[in-house]
Symmetry: C2
Subunit: 210 residues, 2 copies
DNA sequence: TAGATTGTTAATCGATTAACAATC
DNA sequence: TAGATTGTTAATCGATTAACAATC
């Protein structure tokens, strides 16, 4: 409640999802209180930094000797990250990766839902309980439901075309799994998910250590 | 050749894969030279930063008026990131996500290969041309092939058990797709791939803008 | 009360950006 | 040569860490 509208540091914003995810587990384990020290230790973050981060998001200050109420803190972070409002996304490219994403049920806790899939040649009418439609239907769908988020899981060769189609129908943020650099207007947000690069970063770090 | 052993800034190391990926495309398009300005523009990075990054990795300095030779620069980055040496990984949990990863052929350019999959109940002998074996075989396999990298794509409830199994057989780095916080010795590297959090970060940024 | 834990102010550190000289 | 581009040095900025006071 208190300082919900304060602008957070970018770095803090990047760490909040880590706390959120960890707190979720603690709640499952029935832990009523959590201290900054425990979070710091578990997530390998400097304790002072954790305290600063928590101080900037918690509506109720932490209590010396006890720490923070787990579910209180969880909800504070949730609201700061906007996970308590729902956002709807569409997915294009219902291949094997697309299907995994449509079936994935972890999005709910993050205020997200993939509401439909589109494909040039739909092989099934439904995946994960959500409709799969022909790509021909996407324009009217995006406009009718005012969709702002698109997920691209098509082959690289199709990615730019799909991106253009999404953007010209009002999509403002794109999560791209195709290993292609998309050219988009500056006002469109893009996040490239390069799985190979992601794994490679881990091995680079491993080598650096050895 | 020149300064291959110089230690790079962490921030530079984080940007190299972006350059690498973009240069790969430029090579496909037959672009012989690339300037720092083009890279900066395309990737939305400050031009001075790009020049600094490139200066710290390029074996041959960029030429005023021309820029860098695309394939020369590509190879320099490749060697700095260690993508020219192969690393082998195993994957545990050959479900729908696991299969996608085993079939994914983008790892090659990043010096990586998933050499086998393991599952408690293998439903196929082979996926993406790689053997799928029973989890019972993993201990001897890891030791025999001296595997350092493990990928976890099992349900959350199994993730810790699998992680322990990997680590106790010599694995030093884990790429974890299960939404669980794993407890591991400090010397083991872990990268959590939380797809929901990843997409949520995009929407958080989108909201911040609006 | 004593001790643990929070929260804040100041110091340090690293990364980014600006200005400019060097080069083809 | 003139102009474009690189590469470096210095200034700014932001984030992390250290020190410490406040609180239950």
């Amino acid at each position: 409640m208190k300082k919900n509208s304060i602008i957070l540091l970018k770095s803090t914003l990047g760490r909040l999802p880590l706390y959120y995810c960890y707190l979720e587990e603690m709640m499952k384990n029935g832990e009523e209180y959590v201290s900054s020290a425990v979070l710091a230790q578990s997530l390998s973050i400097n304790p002072v930094q954790v305290r600063k981060d928590l101080a900037s998001v918690s509506s109720v200050p932490g209590r010396p000797k006890l720490g923070f109420k787990t579910n209180q803190l969880y909800n504070d972070i949730k609201s700061h990250l906007g996970y308590d409002n729902y956002d709807e996304a569409v997915l294009v490219g219902v291949g094997s990766l697309g299907k995994v994403l449509m079936k994935y049920n972890g999005f709910t806790n993050y205020g997200l839902e993939i509401i439909a899939g589109f494909d040039a040649n739909p092989t099934s009418k439904q995946v994960g309980g959500k409709a799969v439609m022909s790509i021909d239907m996407i324009e009217s769908f995006l406009q009718r439901f005012n969709i702002k988020i698109g997920i691209i899981a098509v082959p690289s060769s199709e990615a730019q075309k799909v991106a253009d189609l999404l953007v010209s129908n009002g999509v403002q943020a794109i999560w791209n799994f195709a290993p292609a650099t998309l050219r988009l207007p500056d006002n469109v947000l893009i996040k490239n998910e390069n799985l190979a690069a992601s794994l490679a970063a881990l091995t680079t770090e491993l080598r650096r250590r050895n």
